[in-house]
């Protein structure tokens, strides 16, 4: 026993000495690369629909930047302002406690210059204060909860995509524009921050605009997979519209179980940011479902040089796959960071900018992306807004895939609250300052 103890101690001492004697990376070498960490689900139920597409999009974009000249201007310079980008992925699975520790390790131990990450709203809410405390650059890319920048101010934390309030407001504006009358609304949403916030925004907007009454509210666990009883409860109460912010495998399972039971017949179903299931479900996706993609991306994307690049790049590496919202949101997040780093470098005499200089450059920035213009308009310039599109699913015989028809595009200022007001209050007050023309 004692000899084992001394062996372990000896080994630990050798490792410590070796680590101490190892030459530190030359400052010049370190300055040549920008270390970017991507936190996203590479395992678990969030991997298929969001995690892996997001990581694939980031990796391909960084590879294209490092080769240089592949993307249209202004994104044609090598890396970030000439510095090659070294990108690594960190798995978002494991819960908020693990994620907070991983974030500390990423900055303290692995010396990342910036982290782009988080799909789960709970992880975003937990990680943001940690990055702020560490004074390190964190860009949230996918989580939907509006509370991040509405509940407190940040200097080092940004979100380069809109929050989920606009998904719900846009659906309600769509119903209003299409003059659809609804008596009652029911919801089936995942029981965590994202689902709760979505339902609250949706039902309050609906009551405000159309005076619809609230029906049943169902809260299955994230990853539940079995929705038979929930479907019965929805059929039993027979609402005019069913709202859901289920996503990924949960949303697919819900649709696979609900469609044969006729849940999508004789009533409307609105799926928040649900474009990511169109391709995997194919013909099993019911027609006539109101759907969005949190932005003018995925099936709603408009033709542009940037969008053409994203579609071509995705299809080259993932044959038959059309980019969905995770590809778009990651792409716009990375493009925003690149724009900010290059702006900060330009202001710093083309020298490596500090974290504070990059943050200052990103604050209030506007940049072009495959899903249109992104503006850092909320949260003191830390929270993006963007236009949003809503449409209805329809099977296209010629294309042999599900498409969206009857599309309405709403301006960013129409479906997002103006600066200085919380989403909840903005909805409760009847959308003051909304610019919808």
């Amino acid at each position: 026993m004692r000899s084992a103890f001394w062996r372990v101690l000896g080994l630990a001492s050798c490792l410590a000495v070796a680590n101490f004697l190892a030459p530190p990376a030359p400052a010049q070498e370190k300055d040549k690369v920008f270390k970017l960490g991507i936190v996203t689900f590479t395992s678990g139920p969030g991997a298929e629909s969001f995690g892996t597409p997001g990581w694939n999009a980031a990796k391909r974009l960084i590879e294209a930047f490092n080769r240089g000249g592949e993307l249209p201007a202004p994104y044609d310079k090598i890396g970030f302002g000439g510095r090659k980008v070294e990108v690594s992925v960190i798995d978002e699975s494991g819960g908020t406690t693990k994620q907070v520790q991983e974030l500390r390790n990423a900055f303290d131990r692995d010396n990342f210059d910036a982290i782009i990450g988080y799909i789960s709203s709970s992880n975003c809410l937990a990680a943001a204060p940690v990055a702020e405390e560490m004074k390190k650059l964190l860009i949230l890319f996918d989580c939907g909860t509006p509370r991040i920048f509405e509940d407190r101010e940040y200097q080092y934390v940004f979100r380069n995509s809109s929050h989920a309030t606009m998904d719900n407001v846009a659906i309600v504006r769509y119903l209003q524009k299409r003059k659809i009358k609804l008596a009652t609304a029911a919801g089936i949403n995942p029981d965590y921050a994202y689902g709760r916030d979505n339902w609250k925004d949706f039902i309050q907007s609906l009551q405000k605009v159309l005076g619809t009454k609230t029906g049943s509210e169902l809260w299955p666990k994230f990853g539940a997979g079995q929705y038979g009883t929930e479907i019965s409860a929805l059929l039993q109460t027979n609402p005019s519209i069913i709202h859901t912010s289920l996503w990924g495998g949960d949303l697919q399972a819900f649709i696979l179980q609900a469609a044969p039971r006729g849940l999508f017949k004789n009533r409307l179903v609105a799926i928040m940011a649900g474009d990511h299931v169109l391709h995997p479900l194919g013909k099993r996706m019911p027609e006539g479902v109101i759907i969005g993609a949190r932005g003018v991306g995925g099936p709603f994307a408009k033709q542009s040089a940037l969008n053409d690049w994203l579609v071509a790049s995705t299809q080259k590496h993932e044959p038959g796959v059309l980019p969905s919202q995770a590809h778009y949101r990651m792409t716009q997040s990375v493009l925003g960071l690149k724009s900010a780093v290059e702006k900060a470098m330009a202001a710093n005499g083309n020298k490596r900018p500090t974290t504070e200089q990059i943050a200052a450059a990103l604050r209030g920035l506007e940049w072009d992306t495959p899903s249109g213009k992104i503006k850092m308009a909320l949260g003191n310039g830390h929270q993006a807004i963007q236009a949003n599109a809503i449409g209805v699913t329809k099977w296209d015989q010629k294309l042999n895939r599900m498409i969206v028809t009857d599309v309405e595009v709403f301006a960013a200022e129409c479906v997002n609250p103006p600066a200085g007001i919380k989403s909840e209050d903005w909805i409760a007050q009847g959308f003051p300052g909304a610019k919808c023309d």
Binding site: W219, T229, S232, L256, R261
Partner: protein
């Protein structure tokens, strides 16, 4: 009346699925005294192999109903490969260690199999939707159900009866019961305990894989299936009594009906109703409803 029948049917459908999922866990605990955290992985693997089997089977012009046999065969093949391999190759080395060590070993196995599944099948979803429409739809009053869900109730009853008869009315089953009650005494009496362990573990793996296989038509098969199944199975096994088949059946009914009641009448309670029932059981009868009588060695 309509609401009552809907709650009852939803509860039974849910209970049947929960029973198929949990009964393998309770069997493994009963025989090997292992609280197998990797149980959910066998469920996930069953779903994946069934999705593969369904894909292959329905791509040809085969009789649709026999697709169910293809799913069963896939689950059986997975169990025959994994059961003996893991029991002989890993678990047996820890039988003489503390029970908590075995829990940690199966937790490690859970993590390994989670990644191995991803390595083999990737992160993209697999579908096995064809069998879901085999039994058409059934109307009960105003409510429309998929016939496949009623087939699952029948499957759960069938599995329960076969397991009970197998354990209580056959010679081999009685040998297994003897091992459950006292493995040392059984060994001294000439029972090949090693063989019983391998067979029981493989049957447990098969039941988990079978549950995954017959759930596959209702879901998109993708990473992350294992976790929720483990939590639910543990709740059922705790309520029913560790190692009791009858307990697992009653506990599944309690859990299924409680969930259905909560979703229809008090949706806010859905999240914790299973754990509330479990906590109440632990407070009133910590050994569960049907825990086998503990022997005291003198």
């Amino acid at each position: 009346m309509q609401l009552a029948s809907t709650i009852l049917i939803d509860g039974l459908i849910d209970a049947s699925w929960i029973f198929i999922v949990a009964v393998g866990l309770t069997l493994i605990f009963g025989v090997l005294n292992i609280l197998n955290i990797a149980h959910g992985n066998f469920y996930a693997i069953g779903a994946y192999v069934a999705a593969n089997a369904v894909g292959i089977y329905y791509s040809g012009s085969n009789p649709p109903m026999l697709g169910l046999l293809a799913m069963t065969g896939a689950a059986l093949a997975a169990a025959i490969v994994l059961g003996p391999l893991l029991e002989r190759g890993l678990l047996r080395f820890f039988y003489h260690r503390d029970e908590i060590v075995l829990v940690l070993v199966t937790y490690a196995l859970f993590l390994i199999l989670e990644d191995a599944t991803k390595l083999i099948w990737g992160v993209n979803p697999y579908y096995a939707y064809e069998p879901y429409s085999l039994f058409g739809n059934v109307n009960v009053g105003r409510m429309n159900y998929v016939g496949y869900d009623f087939f699952l109730i029948g499957l759960a009853v069938f599995i329960g009866i076969v397991l009970w008869l197998g354990l209580n009315r056959t010679r081999s089953g009685k040998v297994v019961l003897a091992v459950i009650h006292d493995r040392e005494m059984s060994s001294a009496a000439g029972v090949n305990v090693t063989k019983i362990f391998v067979i029981a573990f493989t049957i447990g793996v098969f039941l988990a894989a079978l549950a995954g296989a017959f759930t596959a038509p209702k879901i998109s098969v993708q990473p992350g299936l294992a976790v929720m199944v483990v939590l639910l199975s543990f709740a059922v096994v705790v309520i029913g009594g560790l190692g009791s088949i009858e307990g697992a059946a009653i506990a599944s009914l309690i859990v299924g009906l409680s969930r259905a009641l909560a979703i229809h009448l008090a949706p806010w309670a859905e999240l914790f109703i299973v754990y509330l029932v479990m906590a109440m059981m632990l407070a009133v009868r910590p050994q569960g409803i049907f825990a086998p009588t503990a022997l005291r060695k003198i």
